[in-house]
Each structure stands twice: as C-alpha cells, then as structure tokens.
Symmetry: C2
Subunit: 415 residues, 2 copies
C-alpha cells in the first residue's frame, strides 16, 4: 500500500519554513511497519491542490493532507478535497456550536470567517481538535483512506495520536523496535570502518548514521511481524555487537545527551564538579547546568578569558603563562587543579584552546584545544585538534571535556 | 511560469532528514522574482521517480531535480530522467577522465561503480561539479528547462551558483530587495499589534514574521521591475516606519545577532565587561564569547551556581542571601556590582533566576529571572517572568541581560 503526505501552505514554499510535521508522521507510520512513498508540498493555490489530490487518489492507499484548514480565505484544503472527491461540503451544526463555545470560553465572539470550519465533506468523519478551532476529517474514498489534519504541530500531533492512530492499527504489519546509540571520540569514517560489515541486509532492519562535529548517532530499527521474532532479536544482537566493537566510545544507548549521562554519573557517585574555561567561554558549564537538578553536583565555574584572570582566579603562575602560553598542556592542567583547589569540588575540569577564526600559528593552529581533568591524586591533560568553524571547535571542546569526565566516572564505584 | 523542485532520496522519506536544499534554491529563485509552485520528495524508487518527472513535465517551465546522481545502485535519477524524456544516455569520455583524475589526485583508483556518473542524457549540457564526482546536467525539453543537481549541499550550492544561475538570468523578472529586522523585548502579538496595518497589500512585497522565545525576526522583501521603482522604495519606507514604531526594540536591521551587536558596541566604545551567572550557568558568557574578537572587551565570568560561591566570589552578603533568597532583586544587583568590583571591568552583568522545571513557588514561580547591570554610578535591576521550558527560560534570560547592556551602550558616546 502506498502512503503519501501532502503538506499545504504557501509558507512551505518560501525560504523560511520546512514541513517538519512529516518527520513525526513518518516515525509513527514506521512504527506500524508502514513507509511513506511520496511527499508533496503545495501552496495555497486551488488548482495546484486540486491536481495534487487528484493525482494522489489512484496511487495512494493512505493520504495524509495537512494544513489549510484555518478560517481565512487562504485556507482551501476542505474545498479542494471535496472537489477532488466529487463530494459536497455539508454544514455541521454540532461543529459550529463547538467552535462558538471555544471562543466564548475565552470571552470572545466567533468571527464570521470561522463558520467555514464547520463544513464537512459528505461522508467524512469529524476528527476532534482539542487545541484549535480547525476540526480534522477522515474519509474513505474507493481504496484511499484520507485524513485532513491541521498544520500547527500542537494541533496535528494530538489529533493524529487520538483520532487517526486507532484507525491505522488495522494496517499494522507488525512492530518496530528501535535503538539509538550516541558516540563521541570517533569520526564518522572510523565508526563506519568498525561496523560496515554489520549493516543490515534486509529491508526489515535499518541503520541510519547521523553525524555532526563531536557526536555520531546510530539509529537502528527492526520491523518484525511479532515481538520477539528474528528481526527484533536481530536488532538486539546487532546493538550488542556494535557496542562491543565501538567500546566506551558509545556513551548512551537510550538517547541521553552527554551532559545528562555525566550528570547522572556524578549524582550516583555523589561527586561534585567545578569548571574553568577559556576558549569555550562558559559553554561547558552551560551544558552541565542545562540538566535539571545539576545544582546537586555542580558547584561553580570560572570563565578565565584573560590571562590575568587565569592567574588571579585559578592561581595559574604568571611565568607558566609566559613560558608556555595560555593554550598549553601546562596551563590546562594548572587551570583544572586550580579550580579544584579553589572550590573544594571533587573534580576540576578545564578547557583552553584556539577556537578561531583568527589567532592560529603554525605551532598552535586553530582548533588546538587542551582539556584537563583534575582529581585526587593527579591531573590528566589531553590534546586535540578540532576541525570546523569557531562554534564547532567550541562544541567539540566541551564534548571532549565531558567525555574525559565520563570515562573516569564509569570506572568510579557508585556510592 | 511554474517552477517545481523534485528532491530524490529515500533518506528524505525517513524520520531523520528534511530537504533543506530547497530553502536555498527558493531564496535564489525569489531573488529573480520567481516563485516555487510545488515541491515533491521521492524515494530511490524507479517507478515513483519516473512518474514524478512525467507528471511535472507538462506543468513546469523549470524543474530542479536534486539527489540520486551518485555511483551506487540506489542512484537512479539519470536513468529515470532519460526514460521520462524518451532520450538515450550517452557515455562521455571527457567526464570519465575527469572523474578518474579526481580519484587519482587522492591516490586512489576509481571504483567501477563510478563509471555510471559519466553517462549524460542525449542533448544535455554537463554542469561541472568542483566538489564531487557527480556531474550535473541541464536539458531543455519542450517548454521545460530541467536541471539535475547533486544532493549534498556543498556540491549543489556552488554548482547552482556557477552553472545554473547564469542560465536563469534570462528568466529574471526584476530585482528583489530584502530587509531583516531583529527584535527583542516584545512578544509576537505586541509586534503584530504595532504593525498590522503596514502589512504589504501587493504580491510584490512580503513580510514574514519568525518568532522564537526572546527574539522576533521580520523578513521583508520587495520585488521590483527595476531598482528604485515603487516596490523597492516602498520597502525602504516600510522598514523605516516599522523601526519608528517598534523603536529600540529593533536591535539589528542587518541580520546581526544580539551578542554581535553588543560586542560591536563595546568595541566601539572601548568598554570592558565581566559577567556573573546563576541560572544561565555560563550561557550568557558563552554567547558573548561566541563572537570572534570578544577577548578585546570580555574580561572574565563567574558561574556562581551555589550560594556559597555567590558570597565567596562576588561578595554577596550571606545575610542578604538568607533574607531575600538567591533569586531576588537584591542578590542580582549585588552580583552585578560584585563582579564589576572584583574584576575592574567597566560593566558588570548578572543573572539569577529559576529556570525550572522544579524549584518554583507561588511567590517565586518558574521563569522568574532578575537581570542586573552595574556601571559607574549605580546598578539597574530588572525583573522578568519568562514562559517556556528550562532552556527557553535560560535563553530568554541571556537575551534580556544582553539587551539591557545594549540599551545602555547605544546611549554611550563612542570613543
């Protein structure tokens, strides 16, 4: 059965907006073992929309049309769909009362233009919109099931889940099992080299690699007729094998980001943390404190951008700064040790580097970053050279620092 | 003339990827006064692609097809397009030499699969790909101009600019003038209330509002037959009128973000800055230091997450913390004054608040944020209550703090 998505709205043909609803719809259809064959994006143009629907009808077993159900003259989806199906639009007394009531609750009269939202295609079922005035519609026409859905995601998502999903259960081909692995400290090609022989060879199992500077995500999914059949057990085995091969470069297999993983580990081990940053300028602490509850383990941070601050706040010796420069193994280590001593935190984590686009030299190129972790008994410093623009270098530096801490934490016994 | 974009690739029918190339293409077409009528997204399926092209041919004066030009068996755009046009694919000796040479330069032999990239549709012109092995093609078929373009943006964009753009110049209807206004400190509906009577009433002029927590962008564009005609002068007058009505809530009319504007003003006025952050946890300093050259004016920052740090680093009195709590007008002011005194910076900028999702009380709800700016002669503290999730509250808090500084800086005489 072919499934098509038709997104309506001239804004989706501008340079500013993409149809993001279809990512959600695709994910939910995939859950049923169903794939999308075609997506069409059409403006608020009656003829284009009429032709789009007419072309899709003979092909599609399921046609999801979204957008253009509002009250203004631009909103033509109801009309065009009725015309494409050769059906009348009927006024629904219950619907208009509901829409009027919605306005009344907010102390307003319904504008006359909203009246058009109470027209339903002959033979269609109303899909209730709890979050807006535009009702959806469900029509079966020949071999095609058609859903008309509102465009705003906060209206579309609950309407799909509550009204459309139960109707699609009958089309379910089985169950989809998903796993997501998050990886850092390897390049995309390193990951591919390790696992290329494991790529799924059947259409039931899929592996998608999403790569960005400092992080790689592997999205695995398996569709199986019944829970526990070969495909779903296969995906478990595949996940285990990938984790075995990539080792501790895999920091999450549940979708957690690195700051959440580090935060959980710090919490479980009841250890505290303080940070000292130069080139990352606060982004490392910003990521750590983006986790709700981080005040339990994060004490404080220093952004020692100027050399004078590195000396005054963290006790980095002036002669060390003069001899090695602010971007050096020695200074990174002294920043980490200094922030730990100054704050009494269990861990001191520091970053210094050259984020660019200027400031590089042949000896110290743009992208050179030292990250350092201080704890009882010593300080570990690592050198990296990151590629990319200023903020990509900065993100990768925070990722490297968090990952150093993670690797130490996983080997620390929980309390 | 109808213009259609056809994006090819099964990954674009997965829950992970959207066709972002079309935003770029649409923007460039709009520059010529041309609009896109339809976008179609098709998987790596021969029949679907063949039908997609066949359907578009009688409608479209310009058809931009992208993706599916690679060397693997999935890449079927060349074949499907030739079949749709009823043309042969011809092997191009020059092309294969170029592709082989590209591999040779990287010290590799060309895999046999790349040979298919040297086939050109009969009558087509080759579009040179400087950044990959997939050549593009340009064919005029009946009334339809067709471009086949590679999917990767780093290949598509330069090929479009160098090879396709000159061919489209003949379709140019005039010139497009654009203006972008960035606004903070007003809600979307406040902005709309101020300017709703100014919305352009002709299709030549357009106004798009992009709203996100803490920032609103107004994108204005005017298409005019000749530079300086009514539409382009109209957009200048409209920009001036909107700026007059919205006043200093408009922080940029050149596309600069707020940290860049503040950085430029600090540089011009030769003033230095230090920050003290609680709920934003380093994000304020992270934004300030995202600007290249910020070391000229940004001294250092303190992330005083714990109360003890507020006292030890910034001199916030313990009894003030006990009496008013860390999230209070008094503590915000003391943080700003404290960081200024401690560092000797000209400005001290501070944030304290409740980012959520927990920690709110009836007196101090989630989203309550105090921002404070200290300078010679006194400290100004402002109270805000921001809506949204933890990181939305945090972003809005940094935006408010930067905006306080901006408003003071614009009234400070440049050196």
């Amino acid at each position: 059965m072919k499934i098509e998505i038709l997104a309506v709205g001239s804004e989706l043909l501008s340079p500013f907006f993409l149809d993001t609803n279809s990512l959600f719809l695709t994910r939910r259809l995939n859950d049923l073992g169903l794939d999308v064959s075609l997506k069409t994006i059409i403006g608020d143009d009656h003829d284009d929309l009429l032709n789009g629907i007419r072309n899709a009808l003979p092909r599609a077993g399921l046609l999801l049309i979204m957008g253009g159900l509002g009250p203004t003259s631009d909103d033509i989806t109801r009309d065009a769909c009725a015309e494409a199906l050769g059906k009348k639009l009927l006024f629904d007394q219950n619907l208009i009362q509901g829409i009027e009531e919605r306005f009344r609750r907010r102390g307003k009269d319904m504008p006359a233009s909203n009246r058009k939202q109470a027209f339903i295609i002959e033979g269609a079922e109303v899909l209730v919109n709890k979050n807006g005035t535009a009702p959806g519609q469900w029509i079966v026409h020949g071999g095609t099931r058609i859903a008309l859905l509102p465009g705003p995601p906060n209206e579309l998502v609950p309407m799909f889940e509550e009204c459309v999903w139960p109707k699609l259960e009958g089309l379910r081909r089985g169950v989809t099992t998903r796993r997501t692995l998050h990886i850092t400290g390897m390049t995309e090609s390193e990951v591919e080299n390790h696992i290329s022989d494991l790529y799924p060879k059947t259409p039931e199992s899929r592996l998608t690699i999403l790569s960005s500077p400092g992080q790689i995500e592997l999205h695995l999914s398996a569709f199986s007729k019944t829970p526990g059949d070969a495909a779903s057990t296969g995906i478990e085995a595949l996940t285990i094998e990938i984790k075995r091969r990539l080792g501790d470069a895999v920091f999450s297999s549940t979708g957690e980001d690195l700051e959440t993983v580090v935060g959980r580990l710090l919490g479980e081990r009841q250890k505290t943390l303080a940070t000292a940053e130069s080139c990352t300028g606060g982004l490392l602490a910003g990521r750590i404190t983006s986790v709700s509850g981080s005040s339990k383990y994060f004490r404080e941070g220093f952004i020692t951008y100027a050399d004078a601050a590195k000396n005054a706040r963290l006790g980095v010796p002036q002669d060390m700064l003069a001899a090695h420069g602010a971007v050096s193994r020695e200074v990174a280590g002294a920043m980490a040790s200094g922030v730990r001593e100054k704050t009494g935190a269990y861990f001191g984590l520091a970053v210094t580097g050259i984020a660019g686009p200027s400031g590089g030299t042949p000896e110290k190129p743009i992208g050179l970053v030292y990250t350092a972790l201080s704890r009882e008994g010593g300080v570990d410093v690592q050198k990296s050279v990151f590629l990319g623009k200023r903020n990509q270098v900065r993100f990768q530096a925070t990722q490297k620092a968090l990952d150093m801490l993670r690797r130490v934490l996983v080997e620390t016994r929980p309390k």
